[in-house]
């Protein structure tokens, strides 16, 4: 009887996913939203999310999270961990979306184009990756909310012990290991995805530009500020803060970088100095990109491991706030940068 009910639950879940997939495929095939298509961005987001999941979670943990999202039973603790996996997947998608936009934006600005109009179109298209990230984040939040609700209910009913006895396939918590094959695979895949994305974005453009793309992507003042600031903040917070220190370090330094760039750009407008504005825009884009990279590739996986290894119940409240707010701020600042680049400066008295 229980077995029949379990099979039925899984069947319903599979049917829901299948219907959603058919609907999305039909919409994509209709061409109604062809203006919203950025193939390189989509590929980057999907593969990047897989890589980010591997960086923070072990294979068995990921498999359990998928099974439990499809209706498999589990203890309150196991369901809670699976809920955390889906919440982390949503967070990764959101951060990766903003990071993809920043990288895409840099390439749109840094590669030769048919003038300001062409560069403008490519800059606008780069925002699509954030949109994809948001959609994927919403998709991942559905199982996260569902599983955390189930876990909470089980805790309240005091059924955790009973469920633990009947659990099938929930992985036991393993001891903390910084380097695992899953994590190595995740980091390698992430690096490959980044290189592949840049290659795909640059491949369609004329290669007559004056500088290689790698030089365009590396704006050293922003890199020094983000990495130096993040390490300094993490060290000053001490060991007690754990991985949260890195989240706060990267996010706060990125925020400082964004504001610094904005103020410098506004001063550039006041001084009518194009060089100053350009330098500030480059700083904003690079600082946001490297802060997001630090968040998704260093800080977030460390916090995930702390939760999955039982060192903490859940990620810090401030970390969660920054994971939501910083990519949003990046998006807003990229839009501001776009406006600052395309906004023509008039001569005094003109």
């Amino acid at each position: 009887m229980a077995e029949t009910e379990k099979t039925s639950t899984r069947g319903r879940a599979a049917m829901r996913w299948l219907l959603a997939a058919i609907l999305i495929s039909a919409v994509a095939a209709s061409g109604a939203f062809s203006g919203l298509m950025n193939k390189a961005g989509l590929l980057y987001l999907v593969l990047g999310s897989v890589a980010a999941a591997l960086m923070g979670f072990r294979g068995p943990e990921i498999a359990t999270a998928f099974r439990q999202a499809a209706g498999q039973a589990g203890s309150a603790e196991s369901l809670g961990r699976s809920a955390h996996f889906w919440e982390a997947a949503a967070r990764n998608a959101w951060i990766l979306g903003a990071l993809g936009s920043a990288l895409n934006f840099t390439i749109a600005l840094g590669t030769p184009s048919g003038g300001i109009a062409d560069a403008g179109v490519r800059m606008i298209q780069s925002f699509l990756v954030t949109l994809y990230g948001l959609v994927l984040a919403v998709v991942c939040l559905v199982p996260a909310v569902k599983l955390s609700g189930k876990a909470e209910k089980m805790r309240l009913q005091g059924d955790a012990r009973l469920a633990a006895e009947t659990e099938t396939g929930g992985p036991a918590r393993a001891s903390f290991r910084a380097v695992t094959p899953d994590r190595i695979a995740g980091y390698v895949l992430f690096a490959v995805v980044l290189v592949l994305t840049v290659f795909l974005l640059v491949a369609g453009l004329p290669q007559t530009g004056p500088v290689p793309i790698a030089k365009v992507l590396l704006h050293w003042p922003a890199i020094l500020v983000v990495i130096g600031g993040a390490i300094a903040l993490a060290l000053f917070m001490g060991d007690g803060a754990g991985a949260r220190a890195w989240t706060l370090g990267f996010a706060m330094t990125g925020f400082v970088g964004l504001l610094t760039g904005l103020i410098q750009a506004l001063l550039g407008f006041a001084h009518r100095n194009i060089g100053e504005i350009a330098s500030a825009c480059a700083f904003i884009i690079s600082a946001s990109a490297f802060s997001l990279l630090g968040l998704v590739a260093a800080a977030a996986p460390l916090e995930d491991r702390e939760v999955m290894d039982g060192l903490r119940d859940k990620p810090g409240a401030l970390s969660r706030l920054f994971w939501v707010v910083f990519p949003l701020l990046t998006f807003i600042f990229l839009v501001l940068t776009f406006i600052m680049v395309v906004l023509p400066m008039t001569k005094p008295g003109g």
Partner: protein, 103 residues
Amino acid sequence: MTDENKTGFDVDDLLRRALADDLPADVAGGMRRRIERFRAGATEKSAPAAARAWLFRRSVWAALAVLMLIAGFLLQGARSRSPLADRISELKAAAVNFEAPRS
């Protein structure tokens, strides 16, 4: 009292008597030289370990990180040239030219 305990008492008594007065100058000098040789050897052996310990000291990394932060801000403040900034300058100039015929 067992034989073992008796031996222990004998040695203690011997040490107490031997160290009751100051050591002769030549004996003390010899001991000092041996201690110095031992210390010098120990320092020589642990030099790489000390270097490693210094490298992994939190304060060193903190200082390095703060220096990176300051260098980044100084470079940005000095508006050091970068390929990305140059490209943005070109586009910004193009935007001015793009706008010019209308005015």
